[in-house]
Symmetry: C2
Subunit: 128 residues, 2 copies
DNA sequence: CCGGATCCGGTCTGATACTG
DNA sequence: CAGTATCAGACCGGATCCGG
């Protein structure tokens, strides 16, 4: 599939860098998966358990896309049956400021938001 | 569709602040409209002219939703026929860090991105 | 069982035509 | 010029199926 770690799928290219980012991240679920990865979730079942209830086919698709885009890597942790865990690549990890800024905005502007436990530890709110 | 709401629509509420933000911003077009607003575009025709080519019905819908969520305000600038311009509210303006962090990530990780003119002037890359 | 793939109805998108 | 109407097709998401 991909050999160079930082190669970006060129079918995503658009004149605007923001549009380009949104071609990967601009949907309802992708950033939630990335959020979960920051919260130290790594296995399929852990993503499924998140309160938003991502459908299994959507999750599989998003993980594939994120891997293809170089934001996520897959590592086998068991061979029979094959099971893998998902991790943010350095490129994916650098999305932290995007998550943090969203979180800060939410805390300022959405009434009654509380910071779920785990977020502080994951340092999502901190500036990178 | 939606009655006016200066506060945050509660049908968007979710246990996670990030999910909550994504209920408004998590799609292909919404953040592009907000980007355009930061680039000092205010009229329907200006959004339509952006290179991504947002369809007219989607634009109308997104502007309505953003207004309902309190991120955008509409101001009449002509009465016959009625014409209005769209502006970011303070709440919308505070999304700048989200845009900036996406832009910075794109500049670091997407090959051959150039910063389109207007972005520097709009200070999107600057930290808020 | 768990990680997905497949199937399928329903919703949303988006190209275009249309209206004031 | 600023939207609305229409409609086919894409995509989402729930249920189910399948391989290890």
């Amino acid at each position: 599939m991909e050999n160079k770690a930082s190669s970006f799928p060129k079918e995503f290219r658009s004149p605007c860098p923001i549009a380009c980012v949104l071609d990967i991240l601009g949907d309802k679920w992708t950033l939630l998966v990335i959020r979960d990865l920051f919260l130290n979730k790594h296995r399929y079942s852990e993503f499924i358990e998140s309160p938003e209830g991502i459908p299994t086919n959507i999750l599989a698709d998003r993980l594939k896309r994120l891997e293809a885009a170089g934001l996520v890597s897959r590592q086998l942790y068991q061979s029979n049956p094959q099971r893998s865990e998902y991790f943010l690549t350095p490129m994916g990890t650098e999305l932290k400021p995007v998550l943090s800024s969203m979180l800060q905005w939410a805390q300022r502007h959405i009434p009654d938001v509380r910071l779920p436990k785990g977020y502080q530890k994951a340092e999502i709110p901190a500036e990178a």
